[in-house]
């Protein structure tokens, strides 16, 4: 095999292009791929144990799409309704977890996104299941929203929802209802 320096390098460049550009093109061609979620559907996230994922919530109304591209059921779920997004993230603590620390941590995570930040002074929130947490506002230049955090001894969850102000205000009651359905089942007895 001789003098492969040019065509060999070309083949490497082509493979790189196909691998990186080709997959991105296929992904773009498939569109958002959002899957409609029927009202009353229970969505669950977290590492399954005995066939059950430990963090669940209910989508109360129609019009929401599950984003499969941004959802990894072992750790998070992303829902879309127009420009409004709802993210549920599972939190696996390494030590004792409380809602206030989780709120502060979520503030840093949201700020790392660069577009929004959490408001100060979260208020207590209790779900229909009796789970207590904290809730507060999300603000950004062109986005507004709500965040909630829930902590148990062994697991936590954060839910953030944000979108353009006019769209968000319309969906805010649905989102707050969604937040009040969050349940955390401890994966450990």
């Amino acid at each position: 095999m001789t003098r492969v320096r040019w065509w060999g390098t070309g083949v490497v460049a082509l493979v790189l292009l196909i691998l990186c550009g080709g997959l991105a093109l296929v992904n773009a061609a498939l569109g958002s791929g959002g899957r409609p979620v029927a009202p009353g559907t229970v969505l669950s996230a977290g590492t399954p144990r005995d066939g059950m994922r430990p963090v669940t919530f209910v989508v109360p109304t129609a019009g929401w799409l599950l984003s499969p591209a941004d959802t990894t059921l072992t750790s998070n779920i992303k829902l879309l309704s127009g420009d409004v997004t709802v993210n549920l993230n599972v939190v696996v603590p390494l030590g004792r977890l409380d809602a206030r620390r989780l709120w502060d941590g979520l503030g840093r995570i949201v700020e790392a996104g660069g577009q929004t930040r959490l408001g100060a002074g979260p208020a207590p929130l209790m779900t229909a299941d009796g789970l207590t947490g904290l809730t507060g506002s999300i603000t950004g230049r062109d986005r507004t929203g709500t965040a909630a955090v829930f902590a148990t001894a062994t697991l936590g969850a954060t839910m953030t929802a944000a979108g353009p102000p006019h769209a968000y205000v319309r969906l805010a009651p649905e989102i707050e209802a969604m937040m009040r359905t969050v349940r955390i089942r401890s994966p450990w007895p």
């Binding site: 320096r5 390098t9 490497v12 997959l23 059921l73 939190v91 390494l94 620390r101």
Partner: protein, 364 residues
């Protein structure tokens, strides 16, 4: 020909820069948000990179892999392959999520996307190195070594990403503990059988093909690459899930890497012994010299027995030319049929000069 005059060098440089830029754009904000955890992660990971780099270079039975080529392989893995894998994996898993659904994607997405994207990207580092420096990859042992180094670079970058991911997964409530936990599970528990091992297996097969192209070596290269992807898929699969099961899950990967190393080493040493015998019969090497050449510590020992200055430099050049002559027979891309004869002349000239100097070693 200088490495910088080859197009593959510029492809390597450009791909490393692009990869580093993609990785920086993706991680910059998170690193700034969690500076203490990020620094803790770096403090833990940089020594593992240095230790792995040293160990993998030294695994060559006769001479350590040249540091320049080793750095090229590690940087490809840590910058080029890692950076490009970020969007490639994201796109591939998004395609799986959209076509097969989020439940399937959560269970199997990583074990389908990562082996394809990452094993191809890492192994291209060995191909690029062979294109920019054909003498670097002459057989399976070289392929194994540079594959392992490319995998090591990728592994360390990915472990840093996992430090950041663990900080987020733990709700950014305990940054340093998250870094320690991530290091404990991924490095202490899983580093023995991770990317370096998978790409070493693929690299050994590729080294067979680059050393001596034939249908058989192409089949070996293809088989080794498929095996590397299968091992990667097994590692990422939901089977045997859990930190405590990592050693069990990683055992087949480590075993495959060890077997590939032993076979590559045996093939190299067999060629080494055959060639030293032939060159001794030919009169290029003197009796006993093959034995000195075969052992790093003997070469170092004889070096200190020769006076410093010109004699020691001549001895180093003589040994380098002899090793080059022995390895020239292994094969490689752009093999020069006249190289062996030139190297024999070099060896004879260097020996004459060394004998004329005052620092003649016992076997020269």
């Amino acid at each position: 020909m200088a490495v910088t005059r080859r197009p593959a060098f510029w492809l390597w440089a450009a791909t490393c820069l692009i990869g580093a830029w993609i990785a920086w754009r993706g991680l910059d904000a998170v690193v700034r948000a969690f500076p203490v955890g990020s620094v803790a992660g770096l403090v833990l990971l940089v020594p593992t990179l240095a230790a792995g780099f040293w160990a993998l270079r030294r695994l060559h039975p006769v001479r350590s892999l040249p540091i320049g080529y080793a750095l090229i392989a590690v940087s490809w893995g840590g910058l080029a392959a890692f950076g490009l894998a970020l969007p490639a994996n994201a796109a591939f898993q998004a395609v799986i999520g959209k076509t097969a659904g989020p439940v399937f994607n959560a269970a199997w997405g990583a074990s389908i996307a990562a082996p394809v994207d990452e094993e191809i990207l890492k192994l291209l580092g060995v191909v690029t190195l062979a294109l920019m420096a054909p003498s670097a990859v002459r057989g399976p042992l070289d392929g194994w070594g540079y594959g392992a180094l490319a995998g090591l670079g990728f592994q360390v970058s990915e472990n840093f990403l996992y430090v950041l991911n663990t900080i987020v997964l733990t709700g950014a409530t305990q940054d340093v503990n998250a870094a320690l936990f991530s290091f404990g599970s991924r490095v202490v528990g899983g580093a023995w059988c991770s990317h370096w091992a998978m790409t070493a297996v693929g690299g050994a097969g590729l080294g067979c093909l680059l050393g001596r192209p034939s249908r058989a070596s192409a089949a070996v290269a293809g088989g080794a690459f498929v095996l590397a992807m299968a091992l990667h898929s097994w590692w990422d699969s939901p089977m045997l899930h859990g930190v405590l099961l990592l050693p069990v899950k990683g055992a087949p990967i480590l075993l495959a890497a060890v077997v590939a190393y032993r076979l590559s080493r045996r093939r190299y040493l067999s060629h080494f012994r055959r060639t030293t015998h032939a060159e001794t019969v030919r009169g290029v090497l003197v009796p006993g010299e093959g034995h000195v050449l075969a052992y790093r510590k003997w070469r170092e020992k004889e070096r200190w027995e020769v006076p410093a200055g010109e004699p020691r430099r001549l001895l180093a050049r003589l040994r380098a030319a002899e090793l080059e002559l022995i390895e020239d027979g292994l094969g490689g891309l752009e093999r020069d049929p006249g190289a062996a004869e030139r190297l024999r002349d070099d060896v004879r000239d260097l020996r004459r000069l060394l004998n004329a100097s005052e620092g003649r070693p016992r076997v020269a």
